[in-house]
């Protein structure tokens, strides 16, 4: 099990994956918007998306859980 977390505070701009998708290492799964910049959030491990914990528009804090991969 691998948890993908927010690298900084901001809001969710795009969620790029669905539950059940398989992902590679370093794949973009969520894009955060903060300080008017797009912040891509990448996976550190390959696997299958087990759960999405955020949706576009949600405000998030640094360290918040975004996606769970199994």
């Amino acid at each position: 099990m691998h948890e993908v977390r927010a690298t900084m505070a901001g809001s969710v701009w795009r969620v790029e994956v669905k539950v059940g998708d398989t992902v590679e290492i370093d794949q973009e799964v969520v894009v955060i918007e903060s300080m008017k910049m797009e912040i891509p959030i990448l996976t550190e491990k390959a696997g299958r998306i087990k759960a999405l914990h955020v949706a576009a528009g949600d405000f998030i804090d640094e360290g918040d859980l975004l996606v769970t991969i199994e």
Binding site: S34, K36, E38
Partner: protein
Amino acid sequence: MTFRDVFQNRVDKIKQGGQEKYHESNKSKGKLFVRERLQLLLDDGVDVEDAFFANCMAEDLPADGVVTGIGKINGQTVCVMANDSTVKAGSWGKRTVEKILRIQETAIKLEVPFIYLVDSAGARITDQIEMFPNRRGAGRIFYNQIKMSGRVPQVCLLFGPSAAGGAYIPAFCDVVIMVEGNASMYLGSPRMAEKVIGEKVSLEEMGGAKMHCSVSGVGDVLANNEQEAISYAQHYLSYFPANFRGKAPAQASKAVKASGRTIREIIPESPNTPFNMYALIDKVIDENSFCEIKKYFAQELITGLARIDGKVIGIIANQPLVKGGVLFTDSADKAAKFIQLCDAFHIPLLFLTDVPGFMIGTKVERQGIIRHGAKMLSAMTEATVPKISVIVRKAYGAGLYAMAGPAFEPDCVLAFPNAQIAVMGPEAAVNAVYANRIAALPEDERIRFIEEKHREYQEEIDIYRLASEMIVDDIIDPDQLREQLVKRYAAYEMKNITFTERKHGVYPV
């Protein structure tokens, strides 16, 4: 036995270091013997060694657990001190400390770089009165280090533990190279932490190389093994003069990396889309000349030494790929130390700016982002080496100031044709000024209104307008950047100024 035999026996014994079992245990961890390390580090090993016989009347303390001497790296004379962890775990007794003090004092007299090869459990508690509190006790090592700082380069190679008070040796060095898996730094061991505060933690988690090089920032360079750590130190020193009186020797100029996209192609159209700043750096510097410092720490800002036309420069660059290139407490701190390092040894600075500003919010305010940002501004302001500021894409808010903006006397501010300099970006600015009016407008008029104000704002901050007002000194074709930098650093080479007369500033630390 003849006198000659007695002498030879003693020499051989001291050269061997501690007991065989400790050599074996070190070997199993991938650790080299102290004399092997010095052989690898120095051009011809230690040329001059004093106090080889220190504590030789004791049975089991050869050289009192430390080798000190003078040798050469890349032909440059250096002083070294190297703990021997096969002797009482590299712990410090009275003579160990005295040896370290004397070689530091030699480095001060000779004005040559100092390399600390650290692998030590800390003080010998049984010897504390002789080595801890007195005028020439361990505290004096740090006193000397602080005095040496900025006069000669100080490099720490951390091969094993650097515990308790000993952990301050790395703290006062210019750069700390840590070997993954073996190197550690901590004030109180995990065992002590469990006793005092009930914390259960591994040494690696609490003070390991990876932690210090990516989280605390006390470590600068993470090496896979001792050989790699030693080569880094040799390479690093090639960017420095022997002391603050000189400049690092230039090397033959090399062309930039030939492959890859042009700078125009690297920078995306939209100011909000990330790109990799390393690709741009590659297109400016001599191929393979980048010597990065703090690669894994506060990655939203890149700091490293490089060569342009064979001459050494220090690069401070925002990295839009990480956290949007926004400045945080750690990145400001990282920049401050790097700028001071370069300024101390006459290394000109290059600021590559693409920064949306400093981070906002409660979390960073509680961390003291204003204080940390002030530290970066202060170091950048006081730096009197040639400073070139390049606005690659955007410089918003205090980000412009921190990256050597026009008010801070850089030798020049160059902008790319799509650069934006402003208090804040267009979207944020329109919202800040017209939020109430936008809210009062009927919904179908809002978008048109926002777009119009957006356009007006873009016109106001147009880079040609800023050049017309002489706020930027030149607008340049991105793919001419290297050529510009070569000419400008050559033009500014004779710069030799003092910031201001006073005892010293009151640093906003």
